[in-house]
């Protein structure tokens, strides 16, 4: 192995910038996961498949001649309803059951979505070309596609919008109340069933935005969902539930890690290194907690 990245220092800058812009997208997906985990105590393995589905919506708009950037608005609207339907059909039956049941049920949904997308859209790796061009930095040694800057900007806009919405709106307050204590919220007249459905819908909508952005900046493929789930899970456990700056920071950290892993280990180990990092993080946290005679729960 020749470590090209150490010979050409500008590649480090490239990797860091790419990683940061990628990480913002991860953070957006992880935010959705943290939301539903905190509110409904559900770990959604199908998270990544929702992202990919959102990406295909933008891709289809691109195929029919509409600029894929509009997918950022259309995709979340469609995905919101997809999320609510999934909630009504499956999730509401597993909300207050054992966590493993919810993991397994969403795993089933994930397999189902994967295969349905494979039927509907084919097994090719696709990309919605936005035609935004690229920006050159530092004497043309660092290339930065404008679509990546666009996607990072949109992610930040959506994340800030959602934070404000959760703070100010009635539904946002109901969601936060349910997350704190579902029983008390119910007593005080919050329709928790509706709150859960809305939470899952908002999560799916966030996935839709992220998916549309991913289809513009990177590529999508029906089977690429699971790594996104694992990444968002990882970000959430590093940052902790309800810690938004933490989610953003660890998302960007993960993005940078991945870019470096890509350069140093090679692209074929990229996904493997993400999954391995998850195991390492969990083991690290387990040893740290076991000193205090506690465990991850």
């Amino acid at each position: 192995m020749d470590f090209l990245i150490f010979q050409v220092p500008m590649l480090t800058v490239q990797a860091v910038l790419d990683g940061l812009l990628l990480g913002i997208l991860f953070a957006l997906i992880a935010y959705g996961m943290a939301l539903q985990w905190g509110v409904m105590n559900i770990i959604n393995i199908a998270q990544g498949d929702l992202v990919i589905l959102g990406g295909y919506i933008a891709y289809f708009m691109y195929l029919y001649g509409i600029h894929p950037a509009w997918g950022v608005i259309v995709s979340p609207i469609i995905m919101y309803f997809v999320g609510v339907i999934i909630y009504k059909l499956v999730i509401n039956k597993v909300v207050d059951r054992d966590l493993f049941i919810s993991i397994l049920a969403t795993f089933g949904i994930s397999i189902l979505f994967m295969q349905l997308m494979n039927f509907a859209f084919g097994a090719d790796v696709v990309l919605a070309n936005s035609g935004y061009g690229t920006t050159m930095l530092f004497d043309n040694s660092v290339t930065l596609p404008n679509s990546k800057i666009f996607s990072a900007f949109i992610s930040i806009v959506f994340a800030i919008g959602l934070v404000i919405y959760m703070k100010k709106s009635k539904l946002g307050r109901a969601i936060r109340a349910t997350a704190q204590n579902a029983r008390a919220a119910k007593i005080l007249g919050v329709d928790t069933e509706k709150v859960y459905a809305a939470t899952f819908g908002i999560n799916a909508a966030l996935c839709g935005v992220a998916g549309a952005l991913i289809s513009i900046t990177f590529t999508i493929h029906p089977y690429m969902g699971l790594p996104y789930t694992i990444r968002s899970f990882m970000i959430v456990i590093v940052a902790g539930l309800g810690n938004l700056p933490g989610v953003a920071m660890s998302g960007m950290g993960l993005g940078v890690f991945e870019e470096f892993a890509d350069y140093i280990l090679g692209t074929e180990f990229r996904i493997g290194s993400v999954f391995l990092l998850l195991v390492l993080i969990l083991v690290y946290r387990r040893f740290k907690l076991s000193k205090k005679r506690e465990y991850l729960k």
Binding site: K93, I103, G108, I111, L112, F119, G272, L282, R286, L296
Partner: protein
């Protein structure tokens, strides 16, 4: 007791006679044996110990690669074999093939158990869903990483040694069937023996309340690791045989196939009934028959069916077949039922 002996004898006779009675289904029957082994091993951990894992596929795939690598590596250079067309350049003599396979199976069983022991202390300290996701990550990472290692074929796969020309044309199928059947019987008897000792009670105590078990003076970590090692041992064996049976190992589609085998073993154990001896056996049999029927008639839709099946089983049938039977006929399971109590429960419902 007498009834049980008759039942076991009947199953044993059926198992021995099956490949001759249904010669066309030999491969299917071998796969059924492998599936039952996997379901039983998953149940040791997921059902009895309460540590629901998605990662036992790690040991299965490890066993598969190890068995094939040892079988080749004992006689020929492994790197040249996997480079492409190796199986045509080097040919195992029958003695080499069987010798290699036997040693390979031994390695395929022991090494995964050791690996489970080594990583057990770190991983089994996680609980609940963290453990589930962590093992899911392990399984996928193993698949991705093994797909990048040159010496075991990387992305293009690894052809296991072809069966030597001995006996009739049926010899290959019969050999692998009896291999898997013998391992199945061995697994079942071993697990049955384990379940009749204090060890099973400890595992159940860990499942029901780990903190209390620890407070009672049980070294839970030790038992958890041993439980996982038992699971890994038989998983590796099953993987080794499956590698020979399939004849071709691919990192993500055959060996570390989390999307198929990794989910199947969980599903079969849950379908049959977690935490029972016979549950996984029944679950695997029902699942395999259903799967084969469905896979044949609705080709291409199998994953859709699998996804729906998982959701339906998990939501509506989490107790499984044995759980359902137990609720219906509690007397058969040796539970003493008080009539008044039962009536009261019905009224409560």
């Amino acid at each position: 007791m007498n009834k049980n002996i008759i039942l076991y004898a009947a199953i044993l006779i059926f198992g021995i006679a099956a490949p001759f009675v249904f010669p066309a289904f030999k491969v299917q029957l071998s796969i059924l044996c492998i599936l039952i082994i996997l379901a039983i091993t998953w149940n040791v951990q997921g059902g009895e110990m309460g540590y629901n894992t998605f990662g036992n596929i790690l040991f299965y795939g490890l066993g598969m690669y190890l068995c094939a690598s040892v079988q080749v590596g004992m006689f020929f250079p492994l790197a040249e074999w996997t480079e492409g067309g190796g199986e045509k350049t080097f040919v195992h003599t029958p003695a080499q093939f069987f010798q290699g396979f036997a040693v390979g199976l031994a390695v395929a069983a022991v090494v995964p158990a050791i690996v489970a022991g080594l990583i057990g202390y770190s991983i089994l300290g996680l609980r609940g869903h963290y453990f589930a996701i962590c093992t899911l990550g392990l399984g996928v990472a193993a698949g991705e990483i093994s797909g990048g290692i040159e010496i075991i074929g990387a992305g293009q796969g690894f052809t296991t040694p072809p069966f030597p020309k001995v006996g009739s044309l049926e010899a290959r199928g019969e050999f692998f069937y009896f291999c898997s059947f013998v391992v199945l019987v061995f697994t079942f008897l071993a697990v049955k023996a384990i379940y009749s000792t204090r060890f099973k009670l400890v595992l159940n105590a860990i499942r029901d309340n780990e903190d209390k078990a620890e407070a009672m003076g049980i070294q839970t970590m030790k038992y958890k690791i041993i439980g996982w090692m038992i699971s890994a041992f038989f998983c590796g064996l099953a993987g080794g045989i499956m590698g020979g049976l399939v004849g071709y190992i691919d990192s993500t589609d055959v060996a570390f196939d989390g999307r198929e085998m990794g989910v199947f073993m969980v599903l079969m154990a849950i379908l049959g009934g977690k935490g029972t001896l016979w549950g996984p056996v029944i679950g695997a049999t029902v699942f395999h028959i259903f799967k084969e029927g469905f896979w044949t008639f609705f080709l291409g839709w199998q994953y859709v069916a699998l996804g729906v099946l998982i959701v339906v089983i998990v939501i509506y049938f989490p107790e499984g077949i044995m759980g359902w039977l137990r609720e219906k006929y509690p007397e058969r399971f040796g539970e003493v039922v008080d009539e008044a109590d039962r009536k009261a429960q019905v009224e409560l419902k």
